[in-house]
């Protein structure tokens, strides 16, 4: 067997390619994928864009909110990771992820494009927050366009990841 300079690490969990925000998703498929792979992995690892832009994932969180929270609590007490993990740039703070995405990119001067919104909604969002510097105000503009359910989703996911510190997966080299 060829030798590695550094031995490979065990997986922190599964990364579901089907949660890509540019792929057509349905809740049943996402639910099955999450549940089945949760039986074969430490956790299901979720990225910023999956958490923000996947309507199917949002529905999964909403529908199973109580059960997911209970599982995260039990796992936390046992020192184990919960079913769902965060690969987020802001760890467990998904509200901060939204703020990051709404902050104009220094190169383009524009916030991140949200594929959960239509093109028209994205244009509207960009126009409305162009001169807004307060992050709370920016967020409210987004919530007003994306629907109030989205605001609940953001707070729910933040609450979920904060329940169990082992939900957060650190990037390699940053541990």
């Amino acid at each position: 067997m060829p030798q590695h300079a550094t031995p490979p690490e065990a997986s922190e969990g599964k990364f579901l390619l089907s949660l890509d925000s540019e792929l057509k998703q349905d809740e049943a498929t996402i639910t099955r994928a999450i549940l089945l792979h949760s039986l074969f992995a430490k956790r299901i690892c979720l990225t910023d864009s999956q958490l923000i832009d996947s309507p199917a994932l949002e529905r999964f969180f909403r529908r199973h909110s109580a059960d997911l929270s209970a599982e995260a609590d039990v796992a936390g007490r046992c020192g184990r990771p919960p079913m769902l993990g965060s690969l987020s740039r802001r760890q467990s703070d998904i509200t901060a992820v939204v703020d990051l995405m709404l902050t104009p990119n220094p190169r383009t001067g524009l916030p991140t494009y949200f594929s959960r919104l239509t093109e028209e909604q994205n244009q509207l969002l960009r126009g409305k927050i162009a001169h807004v510097t307060d992050s709370d105000e920016r967020r409210e503009v987004l919530f007003s366009l994306a629907g109030r359910g989205f605001k609940g989703h953001i707070s729910q996911t933040t609450d979920y990841f904060r329940r169990n510190p082992l939900s957060v997966v650190a990037r390699q080299g940053l541990r």
């Binding site: 067997m1 031995p7 922190e12 390619l17 994928a33 039986l39 594929s115 093109e119 390699q172």
Partner: protein, 278 residues
């Protein structure tokens, strides 16, 4: 992405690529080279389309042009997304999982005349209770994950996955499959669905792919479709990284109730990237 496309940019690959594919490949590499540190998928997308980026909404491309060149450019988008996702997953030590019918192996990659380079091989067979999705619930999964046995078995599986020993990985997978299967059987009994308890022979099929090449990533993303696996196989294809050998795909055939998996096509997995791995 740059690493993968640089390989694609080798002369023996460039000679079969269409002019528009060459242009797209060059533009992506140029864009990455302008600022390698500022990693953003949108930058890659802009390079693909030459700055005129169509967006997605609910999985549908918006305002796409029907012109041949634009269609050709568009075929690069999901492969680039896949490479980007594989890289992101690796940065967080997580394993990309094939579970989608939505991915399309782009037509800029396969070529008919190339010989097969990969094969699925049967590596094991285990008796297991079939999983019925209608009864696969969050509380059930939570209950299984709360058990010490589950974590002991999972740890053995994880250890095997980095050992470089594919047969050891297959054995550990079999053991874990038995545990999950047994728990699901108990779950069906305890919830009054004993009629659904059905033992079947689950076959484990494996595919070893070269390590660290675009080929691995793209084939893994497209393998389900290529082998005729229906979308319901979501979750029946489990991927693990087997040490330094390569990427190891394990498909548990027959695990999911009501899911018919057609026989794998052994003879052909024709992708015009063979020389990239030689």
């Amino acid at each position: 992405v740059r690493e993968q496309l640089t390989v694609l940019d080798e002369p023996w690959n460039r000679r079969w690529m269409k002019p528009i594919d060459l242009t797209v490949c060059d533009e992506i590499l140029t864009e990455i080279g302008l600022n390698p540190e500022a990693q953003s998928r949108e930058r890659l997308h802009l390079a693909i389309y030459g700055g005129k980026l169509p967006h997605y909404y609910h999985g549908e491309i918006q305002r796409s042009s029907p012109e041949a060149e634009d269609t050709r450019r568009h075929s690069w988008r999901h492969p680039i997304n896949t490479l980007y996702s594989f890289d992101l997953a690796q940065k967080y030590s997580s394993a990309p999982v094939l579970n989608s019918k939505w991915f399309t192996l782009p037509d800029c990659l396969p070529r008919d005349e190339m010989p097969a380079i990969t094969k699925l091989e049967r590596v094991g067979r285990v008796k297991a209770t079939q999983i019925h999705f209608d009864h696969l619930t969050v509380p059930f999964v939570a209950a299984v994950r709360a058990e010490d046995d589950f974590w002991a078995s999972l740890n053995r599986l994880e250890t095997a996955s980095v050992s470089g020993d594919s047969s050891g990985y297959a054995s550990a997978f079999e053991e874990h499959l038995r545990l999950v299967s047994w728990r699901f059987r108990e779950h069906l009994y305890s919830t009054g669905w004993r009629d659904l308890v059905e033992e079947s022979a689950v076959e484990l099929w494996a595919q070893m792919l070269p390590r660290g090449s675009a080929l691995s990533a793209l084939i893994l993303a497209g393998v389900g479709q290529w082998y005729g696996l229906p979308w319901q196989t979501v979750g029946s294809a489990f991927l693990g990284t087997v040490g330094s050998v390569g990427v190891f795909t394990l498909i548990a055939r027959g695990l999911l109730a009501g899911v018919k998996v057609r026989s794998p096509k052994f003879k052909a997995f024709e992708v015009n990237l063979r020389k990239m791995v030689e």
